[in-house]
């Protein structure tokens, strides 16, 4: 009978609908409330946990808000110089071909200072996973313009909005790397709704599974928010992202292996 049900009866394996992945460390996430980085971390860690590859995985943290990813992820990790994560990953994967190697990078890291490392790792077809969190801004340093900042978008170094004529055009790095023969799987996802999270999770898992095939880079962009850098509240930031970022950075697969 209902009144006799205790906590003990409820907390059971078969009733479990959600649990924190055991691959998160005990360290509280340092991200701003509402930031997409935390969810992106979770999806990577859930994937590694579900695949049972913790002891075979080496991750590379970038310079950016996720510089401390290694504090939160209970896996062996290296912290790269700004933009250089794909170079580290290249060497580690070649020296340990049987391991799973991934980079986790922001848009400033991957698409500005690390452009050469990104393009060449992708073009060589390094057998790694690249997780690319694109929030259209330099979050960590206080909201400066990134290569991905939208035309007209305000940032601390484009205070009147990005003027394309003088500041250049935003760079669609994901479309660019999809052109390269060395990328195997290229997709663009988001983590702002439960539905989007489910799709992003599937994409990340696909990317990690691909490493078993030895067929090149699996590149997962996650279009995300930066409430602090955008100077918006979390809900407002997500709405702004849907209205402005998604039309410019449309979600979905960009390059899918023929076999899939």
């Amino acid at each position: 009978m209902a009144e006799n049900i205790t906590n003990k009866d409820i907390v059971k394996e078969e009733n479990l609908v959600f649990k924190k992945t055991s691959l998160f460390t005990e360290k509280p996430l340092s991200y701003c409330p509402g930031c997409g980085h935390g969810t992106a971390h979770r999806l990577v860690l859930e994937t590694i946990e579900e695949m049972g590859i913790q002891s075979e995985t080496i991750g590379i943290a970038p310079v950016g808000c996720s510089v401390l990813a290694y504090e939160f992820m209970d896996i062996d990790m290296q912290q790269a110089a700004h933009g250089r994560a794909p170079a580290l990953a290249t060497a580690i994967k070649r020296l340990y071909p049987e391991k799973f190697v991934f980079t986790y990078q922001g848009d400033g890291d991957l698409a500005a200072i690390g452009t050469a490392e990104t393009i060449h790792a992708c073009n060589r077809g390094e057998n790694i996973v690249i997780i690319f969190v694109n929030n259209g801004i330099y979050g960590m340093t206080g909201g400066q313009m990134a290569p991905t900042t939208l035309p007209g978008m305000k940032s601390s170094t484009s205070p009147y909005g990005r003027e394309v004529i003088s500041m250049g055009n935003p760079l669609k790095m994901t479309e660019l790397v999809a052109q390269l023969p060395g990328t195997y799987y290229v997709t663009r996802q988001a983590v702002h709704t439960p539905g989007a999270v489910r799709k992003a999770k599937k994409a990340i898992k696909q990317a990690f599974e691909n490493q078993k095939l030895n067929k090149g880079v699996s590149f997962v962009e996650i279009v995300s928010n930066c409430n602090s850098g955008w100077k918006m509240e979390p809900v407002q930031a997500n709405e702004w992202m849907v209205e402005n970022m998604f039309p410019f950075y449309p979600l979905g697969d960009i390059k899918v292996p023929a076999e899939q």
Partner: protein, 358 residues
Amino acid sequence: MKELRLMKGNEAIAEAAIRAGVDGYFGYPITPQSEVLEYLMAEQPEKRTGMVVLQAESEVAAINMVYGGAGAGKKVMTSSSSPGISLKQEGITYIAGAELPCLIVNVVRGGPGLGTIQPAQSDYFQSVKGGGHGDYRLIVLAPASVQEMYDFVGLAFELAFKYRNPALILSDGAIGQMMEKVEISDQIPRWTNEEIKKMSPWATTGKTPDRPHNIITSLDLDPHKQEDFNHKLQAKYREIEKNEVRFEEIQTEDAEYLFVAYGTSSRICQKSIQMARAKGIKVGLLRPITLFPFPSARLLELSKQVKGILTVEMSAGQMIEDVKLAVRCSIPVEHYGRMGGIIPSPAEVLTALEQNFL
């Protein structure tokens, strides 16, 4: 008998790397050291030992590949020449800050800027004082022959792993390009992944249940912890200074004057000594083999015996500062050097000695 081969200095570096059981070489072409990568590509060491060789898209990428491999416990190296070494400084300071062992080879050419492709010794400051940002030191070895190019690869890795510190071989275009007889050592097997886990328990080899996750980083946002870490680094450098000073002395027993020179310049000085002694001038040579740590203590001793020191460098005079500090300016220390890729002649060096001291 050991196998003897006639080799270029750059080729000796490459063959020594394979024989030393190096796991990975990452490089980018630049004169006068491109033969290192060319030799390795031709030799296909992946077939000999399983060694990975990769031509990177830039020196920046190459050194960051070294950073990745070193963090994962592997024996990894890169080589370049001056302009390329400048690009590598970012990676080198991260490697020093993360306390990782690796080998960097600089086959120096004249600068500044694109300079020249001819040999020089003008990267001394960059090599021995750090090079990139922050308070750090590299272990710096200065070969003076093709044999030493070969031998110092193994020695550099030994020291790098002993102290978890990057080591640098500071050579120059003359030693890189010249051919000499080299005694080839036996093949040392590459470490297995199991051996790496035991020897370097800090390496990112994949987190297993028996240990916490390993993190390779140079970041600590807490200034007190960062200061503690810097103290730890400095203590390590003092330990290296205590244990690892290496130098060679030639005819110093009765010397009244002293040349101090490393690498190519030290070989010129040997000829100058013969010429000087034929004239009755008692001069000797101290050749630092390690530039960091510097043979300061021995120089201080010698300063009580000799009347003057001439440092000979293919630069405007960089090492001379360390010599002056070592002898506490107790005796005259003068510099003779040529720049821009010009190698001084033994006669010029002797004239400089005479003009300064006699």
